[in-house]
Symmetry: C2
Subunit: 238 residues, 2 copies
């Protein structure tokens, strides 16, 4: 409901949501539901018209959504095999990410061309919406179309850029607890097969810092959740 | 291989491992594999005898397993439905837990009697072994038989005891970053349905501290991973 903005408004639900409300949830005129606009606004609403093809609601009280983090977190996420990327996006949204940027990594098992096929971006965006609903966020993070790692490495939007490396790696890393809380951070998470040395070198030349989490090898799907939890704990962003 | 202790030893693999090595992995005399004793020792080994029913190996060089955390982490884990408990144990092991204590919670969906049926404890222990192997730990954490929450609340072994509560809860919480690194900590994680008020009150009387992670509602299966990552980041336990 991107156009929801204030109590008292009457709004027609988009066709897909209307079908879900009428045919799956089987809600009828007078029933209540929650409406959110994806930009931080959330309301309770009452159904005023419900047919097989259209549902209209009236917004009532504004609801209190989950608090958003103070730091703006961008998660640059190597494409993972199977449902790995979906799982990682779900967790990143739950942990307060503002933006997810999937990318193809040299040692990854999913190529950029494979990721660009088959409506994956639409699916990732649905995963982000569902996860935001489930964890009580009224802000739905954006999910960008996948790119090559070079485009991630060169991006300079965030004040702090951290590349998460394996604890056994031989490069110099910073401890998260040493870094003061930034206004914005990009966390780059590698694929199952780890970073290629060339990717780490490239990130280094572009000014990224390297960091690692704990002394053990994390599953690639768990790394975004662990990294965001670690950042929020040291930066007291809770 | 609980009896592995030094290079040069000849050891017969236990029957189940021997069958796996010979029939699934199809390794033969002269092939190499890794052997660990579950107490921090890990070796490369060479197969010296391999038949359908028995495999003997000779330990060669000691391998370097993943570093163990400085803090001793006990994860008290509410029983979760479906594969949730397996998933949470897998992640707790990956994040360096020393002990996992499953318990039945008032608002949980799995009762203690259901958890005591059907070889669940054996399965959880296999999950712990598999996860330790995957993340490179040579120490396999123990998994205790499930108990009621009262037995967890009354346990006083750890120096610090933290009950993880929902961010929306109205009780007084401490921020993890305020707590100095302990020698040992028990983290108690509630079920999908959250803690019963009586459980929180009981823990409070027993001297537990309450804490929460981020401003959003975490999936119950993700909470152990997030809590351990947060502790290790603030305590620089990496």
């Amino acid at each position: 409901m991107p156009d929801a903005s204030a109590p008292g408004e009457q709004l027609a639900l988009p066709a897909e949501e209307a079908a879900h409300v009428a045919r799956v949830l089987r809600l009828i005129t007078g029933d209540s539901l929650r409406v959110f606009n994806g930009r931080g606004g959330e309301w309770t609403a009452t159904i005023t018209v419900s047919t097989r093809s259209a549902v209209t609601v009236e917004l009532s009280a504004a609801a209190t959504p989950a608090r958003e983090p103070r730091v703006r977190y961008t998660v640059a996420l190597a494409l993972l095999k199977g449902d790995g990327t979906d799982e990682a996006i779900r967790d990143a949204v739950m942990m307060g990410a503002a933006l997810v940027r999937p990318f193809a990594a040299a040692h990854g098992e999913v190529s950029l061309s494979a990721a660009l096929r088959g409506h994956r971006l639409e699916r990732w965006r649905r995963v982000a919406v569902a996860s935001a609903k489930q964890c009580g966020r009224a802000v739905v993070p954006e999910v960008d179309a996948p790119v090559e790692f070079g485009a991630i490495a060169a991006a300079a939007a965030a004040e702090l850029r951290l590349l998460l490396v394996e604890p056994s790696a031989s490069w110099a890393t910073v401890t998260m607890a040493e870094l003061p809380a930034p206004a914005a951070v990009t966390l780059a998470i590698g694929p199952e097969g780890g970073w290629a040395p060339g990717e780490v070198a490239l990130a280094g030349r572009e000014g990224w810092r390297l960091t690692s989490l704990g002394g053990r090898t994390l599953r690639a799907t768990s790394a975004p959740l662990a990294a965001l939890a670690a950042c929020q704990a040291v930066w007291r962003d809770d």
